[in-house]
Amino acid sequence: MEILELFSKIGIYATMALVLVFALGVVALRNLFHCALCLAAVLIGTAMIYVALHAEFLAAVQILVYVGAVMTLVIFVIMLTEHLGGKTIRQTNRQSPAAIIGLSGIVVLLGTLLMKTPWPVTAKALDAKVSVMSLGKALMGTYAFPFEVISVILIACLIGAIVIAKKDVSEKGPS
């Protein structure tokens, strides 16, 4: 058991390092299609960490919704708009050094705060097993109202996205 735990620890830290490398790829690569593929790798790695945290249902939702749906959407839009770009156009603006300095300050500040705060770890939460059934009961019981609001938002956004993205046939846009 000891050695099994050691191996799972090593696996989790390796996954974290890999996810960070791919995240750097998402923000730093020039070709946007490669960025999208790196984002898919980041999302799958995060799903693996969810599994390590005993949130299996969330991992499945993450794979289905993010890697399945959102990534497909992103890749479609990249392919619809890519050909004007070419590889020679500058992909970043001139704020990169200032952004790096400011963000490293934020990271150092928040990191020291995170390490110094004594997070209360309750034994009850550590022992709890969150099954899909208890998630469903909470979703339909305590959180029924937010659930309905989310579904209304979802349908409104889908209709809105179709209306925004469809071609205007009645009038020609300014050229």
């Binding site: 989790i12 479609f76 603006n93 208890s134």
Partner: protein
């Protein structure tokens, strides 16, 4: 909990900072949307880590992570639709070339 909570929080902080860097620096609107997805992902990771270690009702964090995922999907759909409409009208996807309302 196999690894301490602080390590997960530090990891998600780094992920969030990477996404924020992408939002600040990218010129391409689709790149900015992708970086926003990174930031939402880091927030989800925090929610699940806290629900595993400190919360009183263990489902709460996961439920809110589900809500965040749903909102992120709608944000991606609407944002990419706006990008498509913008590309159709202005023939560009770069933020500094969209300056119709700027003077």
């Amino acid at each position: 909990m196999i690894i301490p909570l602080q390590h997960i929080l530090i990891f998600s902080l780094l992920l969030f900072a990477t996404g924020l860097y992408g939002v600040l620096v990218r010129r391409n609107i689709i790149g900015i949307l992708i970086s926003i997805e990174l930031m939402l992902n880091a927030a989800n990771l925090n929610l699940i880590a806290f629900s595993k270690s400190t919360s009183l009702a263990p489902e709460t964090g996961q439920i809110f992570a589900i809500f965040v995922i749903a909102i992120a999907a709608t944000a991606a759909a609407v944002g990419l639709a706006i990008v498509l409409a913008l590309y159709r009208v202005r023939k560009t996807v770069y933020t500094d070339e969209v300056n119709l309302l700027k003077w």
